[in-house]
Symmetry: C2
Subunit: 272 residues, 2 copies
């Protein structure tokens, strides 16, 4: 395959580029067979930078397929320059701001991307505090302050507790702890003691035995821990525990952390 077979895609921003990437990638998932070569150019904050970006895009356009450009740049003068490039330009601000101004009866501020800046300082601080909390309470390390948790993820080892906890903290500012279920937890009656006062905050994760065995094998090849039999036993026991104690749960085998987080927020009613 030559370079010319892939279509250049640019995500342009006057800030981090997160919105441009999110917007563009969401639209591109509608074209799963497409062969795209992605470039993010953040922090385009003046006309001179915009001109050199246009030159780079036009050079690419001359060599092959028409590029796609997803831009969230706000400044009218920079947008004007970017709009001249030889590409299909999706200009988020240009598309929607006029209509929003009419509906809201207000004029847009025209200030460069604030969406992923400090923005609401209180909300930002609560996200950072939540990350700290998640680090301290990962994998049952600290059982202090479990009463501060908004949700406690419970699962056997390697079902996705840690990244989901981190995502809930970092993206949503949720105080999330997690607690590993180990073999002894399945032989005793009831919930593990540290969880008992907090049953209503627990959310369980499970997986498929073969998927879990595969993940554990990457960590400890050939171990009993990674065996299909052990994985099956732990998952069946965990699901029984969840059902017995009315703990909602989710199979993590074929969903992303983003999807798990969205489901947990919804089922635990943690959306603000």
């Amino acid at each position: 395959m030559t370079e010319n077979d892939s279509r250049p895609v640019y995500f342009l921003s006057d800030s981090t580029g997160i919105t441009a990437e999110t917007l563009g990638n969401t639209l591109l998932t509608q074209f799963p067979d497409g062969n795209f070569h992605r470039t993010t150019i953040p922090f385009i904050t003046n006309v001179e930078q915009a001109q050199s970006v246009v030159a780079a895009i036009d050079a690419m356009a001359a060599r092959g397929l028409e590029p796609l450009v997803f831009s969230t740049v706000v400044g009218p003068d920079i947008r004007l320059v970017l709009g001249t490039c030889k590409a299909m330009v999706v200009d988020l601000i240009g598309t929607y701001v006029d209509e929003l101004e009419r509906t809201l009866g207000k004029v847009a501020s025209g200030k460069p991307g604030q969406a992923h800046g400090l923005g609401n300082a209180e909300r930002y601080k609560s996200r950072m505090t939540a990350v700290e909390y998640a680090m301290e309470h990962d994998d049952g390390q600290s059982l202090r302050a479990l009463e501060k948790a908004q949700v406690i993820l419970v699962a056997p080892s390697r079902c996705g507790k840690t990244p989901t906890t981190m995502y809930l903290a970092l993206q949503h500012g949720i105080f999330a702890a997690n607690f590993p279920l180990v073999e002894e937890d399945f032989t005793r009656e009831g919930l593990p003691a540290p969880l008992r006062p907090f049953a209503e905050k627990c959310f369980g994760l499970t997986s498929n035995p073969s998927r879990l065995s595969q993940i554990r094998t990457e960590r400890r090849r050939g171990s009993a821990y990674a065996s299909l039999q052990q994985c099956g036993f732990e998952l069946r026991s965990a699901e029984l525990l969840y059902r017995t104690h009315g703990i909602p749960y989710l199979n993590s085998a074929s969903v992303s952390v983003e999807e798990m987080a969205a489901t947990i927020l919804q089922r635990m009613r943690l959306r603000q």
Copy 2:
């Protein structure tokens, strides 16, 4: 302020709602004086759910200001229903997909939101591995496998190393370690020994003395650690260390983790 003063905003999705929130919130930051009441409704996957969402939006519309709706729902039948609500509807797919189909010469798949699903399994797995790596290498806990790091964040305590590391891992799949600079590091010659083989992977964070003192005070009020004098000394020493060893650095005092991550990716040339 009565409830009627705030304008209802809905983020609607057939998947996690992340793109709808990102898109909508980016547009709303252009109206910083607006008083918005935000509701995310993810996983709208059939017409019946769409009808009940429309009923909820219309009930809100009847009580006050015209709602704003940001939707990334893909299915045409669901979009048709959502389009009937008494609100200003920003329909991401409806707005752009026709033009993309023409440019790409392909028909959109019409499959519900895949943008935050498992998608590219390789890429997803590398993000999860990166989170694991970041957890193991947080705060200099483990100096094993520093050679695997794509970037090592270096800074005095409480300058934002940990959340930035997590963000780089979780969002960008970057193998990021971090290493705390402590007083002894400033009295010795050269870089701290564990970093010496990896100077070109280091990225420094700094802050403002007053900001750092404020953050440290929240953790240990009245301590020497939190004093303005100590914070000033550590920050000056850290910056001198960065400059002496050609380590790029960034002041974290008034930027978000998203902005730090975007800057680090750009300056360390870590974008794919």
